[in-house]
């Protein structure tokens, strides 16, 4: 059922995101043309549009993940979502995964736009050299890793932990929003559900920041990253440990946000 729900959740956001992605990538290509032909006025206009689109992408991503959850779970559509033969966990995971997919795709689009602009402007200088430099970086990295299996292990582990940490941090932000919106089902937040959600978001932020600060301080106090037995031979081992500790603590916070959200949606749901 998760797959089916995910399919519709991803689709429902595609209508907003896909045109925005196309506009961003299209505008990047147009800007290159302006640059190549030295149309200064058009380039200034294009640059302004590009900056506007970038802001729109950022705002849209945040607004969409909030409204998608609110409308589909707690708004009128909630009458359908919450009467589907699926568990609350399936609903929450589907929303989290679909939002994460769109956040990542938004990030990729922004980077890709930047890359197109960079590659386009480098074209007049020496695009081949630019590509060559990028190619050299990766081939040297591959050669370095191939020469030492231990280094490869630490590199891969760092990358994996880094990616997991990014995903856990995205989930943390999403769950913070979801938990705040779920609180709008509880009295007295029901008096004005939107304002209630905002207040709940701020209230949740307080303990969340305190716990996060303690975790940060605790990890910093460990001060073992540079004194690990392996740190001399491999500096990545310290980074790995840091990523791991941050990952565990972020996951812990995620559980602390997930459980009340799940409890409210399961037992205290009170649709308008």
């Amino acid at each position: 059922m998760l797959g089916k729900l995910l399919k519709y959740d991803i689709k429902s956001m595609a209508h907003t995101f896909v045109p925005l992605f196309i506009a961003m990538l299209g505008m990047s290509i147009l800007n290159i043309l302006f640059f190549q032909n030295e149309w200064i006025a058009a380039l200034i206009g294009g640059g302004a549009i590009m900056a506007g689109l970038l802001i729109a992408l950022l705002v849209t991503t945040i607004v969409m993940i909030i409204t998608q959850f609110y409308h589909s779970v707690l708004g009128d559509q909630g009458y359908l979502t919450n009467t589907l033969p699926v568990s609350v966990d399936t609903i929450l995971f589907s929303k989290m995964i679909s939002a994460t997919v769109w956040i990542i795709l938004s990030g990729i689009t922004a980077v890709l736009s930047g890359f197109i602009l960079l590659a386009g402007s480098a074209l007049s200088v020496d695009f081949i050299a630019f590509i060559h430099t990028v190619g050299t970086f990766f081939s040297q990295l591959a050669a370095l890793l191939a020469s030492d299996l231990t280094q490869t292990f630490w590199f891969v582990l760092t990358m994996v932990l880094g990616i997991l940490l990014i995903l856990a941090s995205i989930a943390n932000e999403l769950l913070h929003f979801y938990c705040a919106m779920a609180c709008s089902q509880l009295y007295p937040f029901t008096k004005n559900r939107v304002v209630g959600s905002v207040i709940a978001y701020l209230l949740i932020s307080i303990p969340l920041s305190v716990v996060s600060a303690f975790i940060m301080a605790g990890i910093a106090a460990l001060d073992t990253f540079s004194t690990l037995p392996t740190s001399e031979t491999n500096p990545l081992s310290g980074l790995c440990l840091m990523f791991f500790l941050f990952l565990v603590s972020t996951m812990l916070l995620n559980v602390l946000l997930y459980l009340p959200s799940r409890y409210i949606l399961k037992n205290k749901l009170n649709l308008e």
């Binding site: 429902s12 209508h15 009458y79 205290k268 009170n270 649709l271």
Partner: protein, 246 residues
Amino acid sequence: MNENIEMISGGAVVSDTVAEIKNIHKGYHQHPVLNGVSFSIPRGQIVGLLGPNGCGKSTLIKLMAGLLQPDQGEIRINGFTPGRQTKALISYLPERTYLNDWMKVQDLLHFFADFYQDFDLERARQMLQNLQIDDKQKLKTMSKGTKEKVQLILVMSRRAQLYLLDEPIGGVDPAARDYILSTILKNFDESSSILISTHLIHDVETIFDQVLFLDQGKIVINGQVDEIRELYGKSIDGLFREVFKC
């Protein structure tokens, strides 16, 4: 074996009762809405849930649909407490339009077919055709009444054990009302039951087997329509007007 229990063709054991509601209490922040409601819905019956605005009809239906949790009491649908299992058995039509505006009607048909094993796609297409609704039309281009028709078609195209219809004809024109009522009757089979909440009693009275009068969170009349008519010497509509006289 309990006399209320019988075997059906697939070998599954089912009760004669689709829904059993026992001493349900529900309130919203100290404001009681339902005060000890108890009744049962036998299989193969169309039950009218009647009462003035704000008497708790929608709350009761939401509790049965699993959208609310009771403060006290017990609800059993086919023997299960409301949850994932009962949501697969219940086809629920809320008062509100819950359809996703970006979807076309055909998307919704696939959505329902994806999530409900008992959804009859052919039946839905036939009903859409009868009401001249184009399945390629987007919901955001539809009027409120047409959306309500689409929603009712989706709900009635399931072969569910229990249909919970909250004001199914409130927002549609009288001509469509007749079609909708005949659709409900046509699609109804003896192994399922329907609970319809409405205040437009005159229009639907003829289809009820049983009626429940809900007043201030309590069931004040519960019985078979024929028996009630005989007992009070009035139509259900007439009796409603008398019981809930302002």
